[in-house]
């Protein structure tokens, strides 16, 4: 139940309570955005119809590099 799925905000309604999230698999669905400060184009993690966090693209890209670096430094050390 703590499953949360990443998607992209493609539209935000006028009262800024809900947004349309594109999950990239052909699914677009309304999500409540009152728990996060988002703008169109942001990637969010959605759980039970609510966006619960903004995903940081830069951090996502860096994660793998960081892991590789950690493993390499271990080999050297």
């Amino acid at each position: 139940m703590c499953l949360a799925i990443p998607g992209k905000i493609i539209d935000i309604d006028k009262n800024r309570e809900h947004a349309i999230v594109d999950y990239g698999d052909g699914t677009k669905r309304k999500a409540n955005i009152t728990l996060v400060d988002v703008k169109i184009g942001d990637y969010v993690l959605v759980h039970a119809g609510f966006a619960i966090e903004i995903l940081n693209e830069k951090e996502a890209q860096e994660t793998l590099d960081l892991f590789k670096e950690m493993l390499s430094s271990e080999e050297e050390g």
Binding site: M1, G24, L35, G49, I52, E57, E59
Partner: protein, 374 residues
């Protein structure tokens, strides 16, 4: 749902967050293999269990000397028999009962919400609390109760709705529970040697890493918040091994692309505004201090426990026990694996579940059964 035939940059980007790299996974495994360890780790999330079993990582890690199993990390599973009976009673009393699909088939003493639905009672599955509010708005003549199950990941969704003045025919039965004090309870009980804890990524998205700090300080247990891809879980195990070797336990964050030390402040604020902590019983556990969330007094008009006090009074003094032969309690305390239960896969299957761990997609029995070679 809107379907679109085109699919492209969004899909590729979304994949970026899913972190798949087989070569890297192999490197982590070979590193762990080189070290001679005999360790036992616990995680508290059904999605971690799914990643472990689906990808055979539990077996792989066992070969490396690491036993890794699920604790009380399944909100539906830790919901008590009393809470189930309360919902069944409210459905029988003519309320419209709404809840997540995972809750439907959890057996009560004689019935489940699913069997009551078949009998014609008004029980409805919802994707989230907003769907339950919509049902209340469209059916003003019905009293709609939402069984609010879930950890810190789900609690802010309930809280956010409470702050938006839902209709007066809507109420919730709060079964929300919080993780850190449950971990403390497990360590205090001392039934199991736990060398490290893998903390749930999406609970931590909300609460951050700070609420776990006391565990490493007071119990000297290493902890890693991990994501849900195979690499995340492997990396989490590797980070725990490294901490143990160094002898300096702390709460480490593997899931940095989502989780931050302070968590989601806005979500925490709505939880605190709407709920206060309460001592709560978990299935398989005694009452755990401050491990539940109860609506604050100003929201008591939405509290099904208060509104339906008379109806629920009928079972107030009754004791409810676990289903006969069911070992979900021991499973949730990390003491046994699904196969240790004689009912597993025989008398107890997803089609005919005896206990909640076979019902919920976050329950270890359900997960084990799902990926079992049949």
């Amino acid at each position: 749902m809107i379907s679109s035939k085109k699919c492209c940059p969004v899909r590729r980007r979304a994949k970026l967050f899913s972190l798949k790299d087989k070569q890297l996974a192999g490197r982590i495994i070979s590193k762990i293999k080189k070290i001679d360890v005999n360790l036992r780790f616990m995680h508290v999330c059904g999605t971690h269990q799914d990643t472990l079993v689906k990808n055979g990582l539990d077996v792989l890690l066992r070969e490396c000397g690491i036993e890794i199993g699920q604790g009380p990390g399944c909100p539906v599973c830790v919901t008590t028999p009393r809470e189930i009976e309360e919902m069944l009673l409210l459905a029988r009393a003519g309320k419209t009962v709404t809840t997540f699909g995972d809750m439907m088939k959890v057996p009560g003493e004689k019935e489940s919400l699913s069997s009551m639905k078949t009998e014609g009672y008004d029980v409805r599955t919802v994707y989230g609390i907003e769907d339950a509010v919509t049902i209340a708005e469209k059916n003003r003549d019905k009293n709609v109760v939402f069984m609010a199950v879930g950890f810190e990941t789900t609690a802010p969704t309930t809280a956010a709705v409470m702050l938006k003045n839902p209709p007066s025919n809507f109420s919730i039965l709060s079964c929300h529970r919080t993780i850190p004090n449950a971990l403390k309870a497990i360590l205090d009980m001392g039934e199991l040697k736990i060398d490290g804890l893998i903390e749930p990524g999406h609970v931590s998205t909300i609460i951050g890493t700070k609420p776990y700090e006391f565990i490493s300080k007071e119990y000297h247990v290493p902890q890693v918040v991990a994501g849900f891809e195979p690499i995340d879980v492997l990396m989490g195990a590797w980070m725990l091994v490294k901490q143990i070797r160094k002898g300096e336990p702390f709460i480490q964050n593997e899931y940095t692309r989502v989780v931050h030390r302070d968590g989601n402040a806005k979500a925490q604020q709505v939880i605190n505004e709407v709920f206060e902590p309460e001592d709560k019983k978990w299935r398989g556990f005694p009452v755990i201090p401050k491990s539940g969330l109860i609506l604050r007094k100003k929201f008591e008009d939405y509290d099904a426990h208060k509104i339906y006090e008379d109806e629920l009074g009928e079972i107030k003094d009754r004791e409810f026990s676990e289903p006969k032969g069911c070992r979900c309690g021991e499973l949730l305390r990390g003491l046994i694996a699904p196969q240790d239960c004689v009912l597993f896969g025989k008398k107890c299957t997803p089609d005919n579940p005896i206990g909640p761990c076979m019902v919920s997609i976050e329950g270890s029995c359900n997960i084990e059964y799902h990926y079992l070679e049949k």
